[in-house]
Symmetry: C2
Subunit: 402 residues, 2 copies
């Protein structure tokens, strides 16, 4: 019997729990020893496929599984490489040569596309391959799934971290009254919106949360921050590293005239920090200290603040991917299907890759509040709160009333 | 009997455990109900003293004590206000009016100075006051004490966080090979050096740690990073937000010609981010992506990564301050006195405020290694490792060999 080898890779920006999906794949593979004789882990995603660069992974090693479930980042190495059409023949030849029957790729939109095209190419060539995508992205922008593994953990990190950053400024308001926290999230506000989940009461910090879906002029930010500062004596502001501002042609990244400071060899533009720009503006206009925290990759790696719900779901989607592959359900991405908000219940499902690949899901309008002071709706709270994986820490405050 | 009221304040930049010192003061005060009839907490340090802005604190409330011990930042509000000589008469009048017998200020160098001058002014005026300083600073730059409460927690945060940030880049090295982490620490390298404590083995990430005590030209950083990148395929760099470079007049903050981007109303200069500057330089010169994480205040607030040893010591110095005040040992700062490195044992002591106020302790030469690739010595590891409060998480890695 052939095709009993499973190949797994990790792709795209890593998360605090993507290794739990790899652990889930190993744990499930161990349950089917007659169907899966060997598991190989690709180094750096599809780059490892083309280069035949992989390593054997023991499926039934409880210590490895426990280690992976406690480790952030992508233990196999990740990549942003997309499989081009010109690569498909070479990739199929590799699969054939090593008698690979199952191909699982843990990643986001690009990975779903790669998985889809590889699966189709195999089918067209009459090669029996079950190619299944496993969802992963802090950006929470994959369609067809209720949410994406990785999002709950960055949401918990920011819900807690912004509260802590706010306590710092609340204490230091007499000299350091304004703080911006610049967060990730590409062009969507899923990540920034999560920072508002930590608010202890309406009107409390973070006082202003800007979403890239709602372009805002620097002058408006200035006016908003000044109003909060006059009222509360300090101001906590959250914005995305890709926050937009209106421009003649539509929108552009806020600050510095929208000019990128660098364009990489792949043509991706990198913009200077909108928070750094706004801090300069705020200091000059308000005459008080403004500073910014830019947690960068720390926000997606912080294992100490990972969501336990997110971790369990990341493990579950890995297991579900193996079962789907064994049932012959290639060409699908595993999804999370919510059964209820309270109590929170969620199961795994499947969606055809064709409906997922290269699509992205924006923060829906019903989750976005009227303005930066009220950035999210009750519907978003119902959606996102369970993903945090438990209550947030309760902190003690003895000074000013707000 | 008079003078049975204790006044406590918090001052300077907050930490993850400064509230534990407040909790220690309350817990110890509760043990001496005949000597201490009331405890009042100043809002925003000495600003609250001059404004008579304080609140009663119950000494024997276990829930409050537990809450404070789990809360970062300064729950009473902090300040950078220094008591000027012109304020001393007004401050003494307030103490007299409210019959304050004990004055405890939790803070750094400036607070020690304020405590010293208030105590001396009281003595000169024949007013019976026991003024005791309680040490606190992430910067670890107070003299006379082995280390400062607050330092162990930021050290643990950076030892773990930089490892996590490094795992992210190790996974993404094919497209995002260079990461800088910009940390706090004023003009001293205590904080940056702590990031090197997380290294799994010699030569592992963080590959380069720059210390403000060792000025470095941007061109040297570029050469160092390029060499690491060529060798390992990625590079993790830690530097202080006040990293220095050589200049004609001595040294200046690295980047942007050493020009501050803002000078606040008190005359403090604020410099643009050296990491942002270096990223632009690295991208332009090496043609690869370089990014930076700037955790800012998150690094001193992260309760989930606070050091348990640091938390217990912060509590202990608060208790010791009350006992010193009751014994009539005003004019002192509580210190930490190390008894042994392994097993780590530390007790509290006292040092005259005159030997502490306005002094600052640099990272000693015997703790500094030969260069950024070997930034710390075995002596520093012996000193700092116990302060992390326990083993660091062990992470699993399955890809490239380094």
């Amino acid at each position: 019997m052939s095709g009993q080898t499973l190949l797994v890779g990790q792709s795209g920006g890593p998360t605090a729990v993507i290794n739990s999906s790899l652990a889930g794949i190993l744990a499930e593979a161990a349950r089917w020893p007659r169907q899966i004789r060997a598991v190989y882990g690709l180094r750096h995603g599809v780059e490892g496929l083309l280069a035949e660069d992989w390593r054997a992974l023991p499926a039934d090693d409880p210590q490895l599984i426990a280690g992976l479930r406690a480790t952030p980042s992508a233990a196999l190495g990740s990549a942003r490489h997309r499989l081009r059409d010109a690569d498909l023949d070479a990739a199929l030849a590799v699969l054939r040569r090593h008698d690979i029957g199952y191909f699982l790729l843990i990643g986001g939109n690009d990975s779903a596309d790669t998985t889809d095209r590889l699966g189709r190419a195999a089918a067209a060539a009459g090669y029996p391959l079950q190619a299944v995508a496993v969802p992963k992205t802090i950006d929470n922008d994959l369609p067809a799934t209720d949410h994406c593994p990785g999002y709950g953990s960055i949401a918990r990190y920011l819900a807690v971290g912004v509260q802590e950053a706010a306590l710092d400024t609340a204490a230091m308001r007499r000299t350091d009254p304004i703080k911006l926290v610049e967060v990730m999230g590409r062009g969507a506000g899923w990540v920034a919106a999560a920072a508002a989940l930590g608010r202890r009461k309406p009107g409390a910090a973070p006082h202003l949360v800007y979403l890239p879906e709602r372009p805002v002029a620097p002058e408006q930010v200035l006016a908003d921050v000044e109003a909060v500062y006059r009222r509360h004596g300090y101001a906590i502001v959250v914005l995305s590293e890709n926050q937009t501002e209106p421009s003649a042609g539509g929108t552009r990244v806020l600050g510095a005239g929208g000019e990128p400071e660098w364009v990489d060899p792949f043509g991706h533009a990198y913009h200077p920090s909108p928070a750094a720009y706004l801090c300069r503006l705020l200091r000059a206009e308000l005459g008080v200290r403004a500073r910014y925290d830019k947690p960068g990759t720390l926000q997606r790696m912080a294992r100490a603040l990972a969501s336990p719900v997110d971790e369990r779901e990341a493990f579950a989607v890995g297991r579900a991917a193996v079962r789907a592959a064994l049932r012959g359900q290639g060409g699908q991405m595993v999804t999370l299907v919510r059964r209820s908000d309270a109590p929170y219940r969620c199961a795994t499902g499947l969606a055809p890759l064709a409906t997922v690949a290269n699509q992205s899901r924006e923060l829906p309008a019903e989750f976005i509040g009227p303005d930066a002071a009220e950035p999210i709706t009750a519907a978003f709270v119902r959606y996102a709160q369970p993903l945090l994986g438990g209550p947030l820490p309760h902190y003690t405050w003895l000074s000013d009333s707000d």
